[in-house]
Symmetry: C2
Subunit: 176 residues, 2 copies
């Protein structure tokens, strides 16, 4: 490669990343619109039996405090977003798996699953290979459903509350 | 009392019982209309999470086979109806208790509870004191939630399926 091309390629790469971020932000906006308090209350609390819980892995309970701790350990924002995206994709699939197609929360949960799928595609296209090794380990454990991981019974609304709080922490600055 | 009144009082009593049976049949008809297969499927299966169960006492799982066995032991039809009514009133209250007011099965379950209340009132007015002692014992255990009774986890639809099958056994002849 001739050195004369380098600034041009850098410029193209930056443009590509910016376009990717814009697309990511559009998906985040769609998620925000679907994850309002009113909708979480309706679809994840009112439409479930009282005290109903979903079994998730310990690592799938990803709270704002976990993000703060990981930031203190200098884990990159990219890695944190990948963690949040991977964990919540799994969490939503687990909630979806307990619903029959005619359950009034089925379509809502399906829509959320699809938005997370779109986000995962965006991620795959632009950010592969830049993930912190520890985060990658946790994500693999979550994805493979490692039998060694302890389980937790958590109400579906509490899982989506965590999802929203962490989303706000990770995207409120970059997707204003 | 003069003996001359006796046939007249008997006649009045028979008329009263017939009127009561007609009222009972009207409530049974309303229950039948609310407990169709389609509605049980929708409100008690589709609108609940997959594999969801309600904890009931062993005696609250009242199946057609139990009725056949009790009939073989010459338990009166009146006692069997009282047993069915008491058991299913409790079962419905237990299902209702796991639902928030905005759950899509809440109103349906409430309506069924009210119909069973009406049936209990009818029963109280006309049939008190004629119940088989063994049946009375079981009903008291069910009503007091006797801690000694073993518990069973049963899907809500299975509980209402039992309710409907036994209703048919007990009323299909007398409420044609």
């Amino acid at each position: 490669m001739q050195w004369g091309y380098a600034p041009f390629l850098y410029f193209v790469a930056v443009l590509g990343l910016e376009a990717a971020m814009q697309k990511e932000c559009r998906i985040i906006e769609a998620l925000q619109n679907k994850l309002t308090y009113r909708q979480r209350l309706q679809y994840m609390k009112h439409y479930f039996p009282i005290n109903y819980t979903v079994n998730v892995q310990f690592e799938e309970v990803l709270k704002a405090a976990n993000i703060t701790r990981l930031r203190d350990q200098n884990v990159s924002e990219l890695s944190l977003r990948y963690l949040w995206l991977s964990v919540n994709s799994q969490v939503l699939l687990k909630i979806w798996a307990v619903l029959l197609e005619r359950h009034p929360s089925w379509e809502y949960t399906q829509d959320l699953c699809h938005l997370f799928e779109q986000l995962a595609e965006e991620y795959e296209n632009y950010n592969q290979g830049n993930v912190d090794a520890n985060v990658q380990g946790v994500v693999e454990q979550v994805l493979t459903g490692d039998a060694g991981s302890s389980q937790k019974a958590v109400p579906p609304k509490a899982l989506l509350d965590n999802c929203v709080k962490v989303m706000w922490l990770l995207y409120s600055e970059s997707c204003k």
